[in-house]
């Protein structure tokens, strides 16, 4: 996977994630496309590429919301590092892996932002809304991450086929 492919995919995912409607019943929640991509890249590329992708994802995430620039980079980097650490132990290219990583990652993302935004006073944190958001993110992560995996696998297969043809 080239660096350009990773950057373009992340930019596209950022744009799409911001355009998609939020799930208002889940206090409101956006489908975690960027997070799913970081999980995918951490499982499929080298350590350095995955970490670079995490930094880029952090920049893109903060560009698309009024958060201070750089606030989400530590989360994406930590997420990538954790997936890289355990990928040798658990990784098998199956949907279940992505369901688990997606669900856990999405919940951790909510916890991270709740702590950071709550401690810095940037956002008021209401316990009820946070609980709802955690439940929602668990579902969203478990649903979106495998979909992103399937889509990316298909895209990469198509690219490889096209290259061979050329």
């Amino acid at each position: 996977m080239s660096g350009l492919f990773i950057i373009l995919t992340l930019m596209t995912a950022g744009a799409v994630q911001s355009l998609l409607p939020e799930w208002r019943m889940l206090s409101p929640l956006k489908p975690p496309l960027l997070l799913s991509l970081i999980v995918y890249f951490s499982l499929h590329t080298s350590r350095s590429r995955a970490l670079c992708a995490a930094v880029v994802a952090g920049f893109i995430h903060d560009t698309f919301c009024p958060a201070p620039l750089g606030i989400s980079i530590p989360f994406f980097v930590l997420m990538a590092m954790n997936v890289i650490l355990v990928r040798k132990e658990v990784f098998s290219d199956r949907l279940l892996t992505y369901i688990i990583f997606g669900a856990v990652g999405a919940v951790l993302q909510i916890v991270y932002f709740a702590v950071v935004l709550g401690v810095t006073g940037l956002r008021p944190i209401w316990v009820g809304a946070l609980t709802l958001r955690l439940l929602g993110s668990l579902l969203a992560g478990a649903l979106i991450c495998p979909l992103v995996y399937l889509a990316l696998t298909q895209i990469r297969r198509l690219i490889t086929k096209e290259r061979k043809r050329v």
Partner: protein, 276 residues
Amino acid sequence: MIEQRNSLRWAAAAVAVVLLFFLPDGCTARIKGVLKDTITPVQHLFLKGGRRLKAGADSVRGLGGLAEENRRLSEEMIHLQARLNVLENLEQENMRLQSQLGFYRPQQRTLVPAEITARTISGWWQSVRLNKGLRDGVSTNRAVISSSGLVGRTAEVSLHTADVLLISDPACKVSARVSRTGSFGLVSGHGVNMKGYPIARMRFIHKDAPVRAGDAVVTSGLGGVFPKDILIGYIEKVHTEEAGLYQYADIIPNAVIELMDVVFVTADKNGEESEE
């Protein structure tokens, strides 16, 4: 040797990320602005694609009811035109009377139309992005309105885009007045209620003010950012604070619920903005 070089590279990257947090606000805003303007074309591409798909689906779905829709719109246009004529006469009469009394002040603000191109990427903020920025005369801390009322205020503005904090965001605060009783208060966002609707809360309403559910809440015009008498929303529920000194009310923000694709940003008439 290679490993040492790699470690140095990673250390430098980590320091760069940490330094990012200590950069002055203006500097990070500029970096963010450049990033936003870079990604905006990608976003436009998807937005246009999505709208074309929606339009295609709508046209397929609406073919049968097209004639009926056309007839209804023609009737509505005639009705609105008649109403507009009456309002124009009233406006002229109002201006004439005000100028006779010496009260008339020419309107200082002009409205910049802008299209909503995206919403926030995470659910932590209630914001939208507009396709107009500094180049179009939009600046920070300006009121954003639509035909349904107050939408919010501009927060971060780059050359070609502007982020708008919606009235349902806790960081957006507006001095407001209950239209029926004239009671003043402060409206700020309160996130989303259990039904999934964005809500705002009006605080510091006088404890004896006879406000009730259904009352319209409008901007008071105090503070200078928001024009006077713009509809914010309708009161859903009224509560009394624990100490009993004030009342507060939950408000359904009208323009956020019926958020249109096109909104208007207030700007000075000559396009030059004065910082507050």
